[in-house]
Amino acid sequence: MMSCDTIRQQISGCLDSGRPLPDRVRDHIDSCRPCREFHEACRGIGERLAADAASGCPAVGPLLRDAVMARCSQVRPGAATARNWRRIFIRFSAAALATAALITLAILIRPAMFKQPLPSPAPVVIVPQPHPDQGGTRLVAWLVSNPDIVPQSLNKAGQAVREPVKQQTDLLMKKGADFASTLLAAMPIKPASPPKPQDLR
């Protein structure tokens, strides 16, 4: 069931196009008095408007026509077209100049806006060297107490590669163990068995 507003819109649309009313609209206005009145009123309004349009309006006299032609004789036909193109060109040029000036100003005043931010330099960390008396134990203790330090090394391609702390720590421990073994070998009294690297952990 369509609403009365929809029906009235369809009535108006049919009056615009000159088409006859569809059956469902006709059925509706047969049963709906306000819509039937609207339909009849719209037809009456249209006829009255068409009749009233010409009534009471004076004809254009020769004086008015002469005045129009006199004013037209003062302008060149199509003058506005060339003037419009000139206006468009001037506006376009002004806009381009303004844009260029703005870009130049921005580059001069705010150079930082147009530069890529440089990467911050890696922090310099002084790593304690292994002591001959303590082997790698001091370094291991230092590394354990500084878990944020991630040492860097170069790979085969020469690029800096970050290595995990544990891997570096294991390497240092191995070096410390080797150093301790060398020291023990140089001592006059040898222990019953040389310490193994895993014993030093």
């Binding site: 609207f38 009471g56 008015l64 036909p77 419009n84």
Partner: protein, 209 residues
């Protein structure tokens, strides 16, 4: 199919189509434009008079419309009707004029009232009361009034109206629907008011008797 090149200084311009006359006018042939003025000034004056509400402003706007058209005659596209193009110019000028507050609405008294001793002024004054277009101008927004005028006074299609008003045809149909609805409500309200006044009067007469 494109029209042949205009002949400047042709013998009888009245037999040519609007498009051909416009081409001749663009080439500088003043009589061709004069013929266009003859053909279209009546319809434009009727519209401007209904829109403005007074003859003086309507005539000024009519002159402005033709001068503007003559200046831009080179940009007229002959694929469209010349009437459409002229009404577009007149409509824009009338809107601009109205926005500047120089239009006297129909329901207001004009600055210089029409001379009642003058037969034309008296006739126009009397006619203004009954003309439905004056009611339309009072109760409808300007775009609805314009759509209604182009539809009923000029018998222009919805597509052409859409081009003049720079809208889509669907919008124009909505404008026409709202305009009809507004006029219907106004006329119905007036009729109901008269009926109730008549009933009051009849009641007063019966009470007095």
């Amino acid at each position: 199919m494109p029209e042949p090149a205009p002949e400047i200084g042709g013998s009888d311009v009245s037999i040519h189509s609007d498009g051909r006359l416009a081409m001749q006018a663009a080439a500088g042939h003043a009589p061709a434009f004069g013929e266009l003025v003859n053909r279209h000034s009546g319809g434009l004056l009727r519209f401007l008079l209904r829109y403005c509400g007074n003859l003086h402003d309507a005539e000024d706007l009519l002159q402005d419309t033709f001068v503007r058209a003559y200046e831009h005659i080179g940009s007229y596209d002959a694929n469209y009707k010349f009437t459409t193009w002229m009404f577009t110019i007149a409509w824009r000028l009338a809107c601009s004029h109205h926005r500047k507050g120089r239009t006297v609405r129909i329901n207001e008294e004009p600055a210089q009232p029409l001379d009642r001793s003058c037969p034309l002024g008296h006739a126009m004054k009397a006619e203004q009361k009954d003309n439905l277009w004056n009611t339309a101008r009072q109760v409808l927004p300007e775009n609805q009034f314009m759509a209604l005028w182009l539809k009923y006074a000029e018998d222009i299609s919805v597509q052409e109206i859409a081009r003049i008003l720079d809208r889509r045809p669907g919008n124009v149909k909505v404008l026409l629907f709202r305009a009809r609805e507004g006029l219907y409500d106004k006329l119905k309200g007036d009729e109901d008011g008269k009926l109730s006044a008549g009933r009051r009067h009849a009641g007063a007469v019966a009470g007095g008797a």
